[in-house]
Symmetry: C2
Subunit: 311 residues, 2 copies
Amino acid sequence: MQKADLINCYARIAPYIHRTPVLSSKILNSLSGADVYFKCENFQRMGAFKMRGAANAVLQLSAEEKRKGVVTHSSGNFAQALALIAQSINIKSYIIMPSNAPQVKKDAVKGYGGEIIECEPTLAAREAAAKKTQDETGAVFIHPFNDADVIIGQGTACMELLEEQPQLDYVFAPVGGGGLISGTALAAHFFSSKCKVIGGEPYESDDAYRSLLSGKIERNISSDTIADGLKTELGDKTFPLIQQYTDSIIRVKESEIIAAMKLIWERMKIIIEPSSAVPFAALLSEKEKFKEKKIGIILSGGNVDLEKLPF
Amino acid sequence: MQKADLINCYARIAPYIHRTPVLSSKILNSLSGADVYFKCENFQRMGAFKMRGAANAVLQLSAEEKRKGVVTHSSGNFAQALALIAQSINIKSYIIMPSNAPQVKKDAVKGYGGEIIECEPTLAAREAAAKKTQDETGAVFIHPFNDADVIIGQGTACMELLEEQPQLDYVFAPVGGGGLISGTALAAHFFSSKCKVIGGEPYESDDAYRSLLSGKIERNISSDTIADGLKTELGDKTFPLIQQYTDSIIRVKESEIIAAMKLIWERMKIIIEPSSAVPFAALLSEKEKFKEKKIGIILSGGNVDLEKLPF
């Protein structure tokens, strides 16, 4: 992947995304001992960075492909992102969702015009349902993270951040399937001469941490984390980019995630989802190491069920 | 009061306050049928517009007065605001708080360097405690809302809003003691040729609505509202300004306040306190009247106990 891929991507998706603000907080700077810049993808369209990658993948389809629509399997933010970008350019989207997905998530996808196809809540069932939909409709399958165009799209959040704060020493991002962190690492590689990229990951879903240690893609042993967006495992396109371009991964406890989330809600008065709190929790957990550094943090999204808060 | 009072106030307080952002949301525009601009005083220093009025009052004290400090009685946002502006210019603040005030509010005042003086939770006790503190220390008493300098300070939020959106047809603000709404109405009067000001008030604390009807300051019959910042009654300085400069007051039910608050949290991903949701609830409750109008809404603050949410 080249620097030009990111630049072209940005020009392509800019009309379909928000340029999100970069916020800072004196109190959180003082608590962390660092100079922290939060890139607020919780204010992105549909509430998460996923809009960027979905837009980049969909906008590059041919006219013929667009006519047949797109399909993905996701019960999370990528489902909403694909439905919304499809709606924005008037094409059809099919979203494979497990039958036990929360009603609020199904409603959000429907609200963006996506056609939901329910399946059993197993990986095999959702892959089979996606394949069947592709066969029947000719729709193009877009993977939520293990896709070069999606990865590049996610990297544009860090591009924008570095445009505003070119002197960052580090950027922190959460690690789930690896789309955001690998896109972020590419952007830092191409648009900064010094910015290192650190992943934040829950101990309860630490496949990426262990994969970097062993040199091969590891499975999650558990995934009992409040950071529901980070339960996914790395893919064969994201893992090599993480190996090549990220500095390290810091793991955090569930209590640290909740405490970091509460701090951001209380002090910054903004709503972030638990996954978004993981990189700030990672910074706090090793704050001696990052003292007085300029740190960017990607707040990945703000889609949270207000009736099920952890505090 | 003159236009120059507001202009001079703004120059005076600008170094001590944040210029808060004005946000909008396509979804909330579509739900309300209007073109709505939210002035985000929840992002103000200490989390509420009260910082503006406190700063304007304190910064005009003489050197001798400053040496002796300031005192107020408040268990809400004005307590924090007075403590913070006092701390910012290195003077002493004494905050009279009822003994049953929540620990989180006491901690916030202490965090800003205020000296808390506890009293019984009655109006008589807190006025006596304030008087005693004035007598003993020589500190200057600053009223949370019934004070010309405080009122003018609160009006600067609307000044900033009109600078960014000069074509507003209406500005909505919540009504408690009347400091914010009367300052807002002054600003609209001096800085717009057409912008009308509407107050939002809970049915459960509708003294201002009834005062406008009867032509004299009415007492609250009940004050059992979730909008804890709006339980206060009008003062003899705020009421005449409201009579003269506001268009009308719209009352809302508790369920409407909670629904409006949840909409803003979910759709805008920002944290506002219940009082801040009242003007948006008022707009939604009479939305036919405001169809396609350009509406400003003052989101007054974001200080809320995350462990006691109404949803």
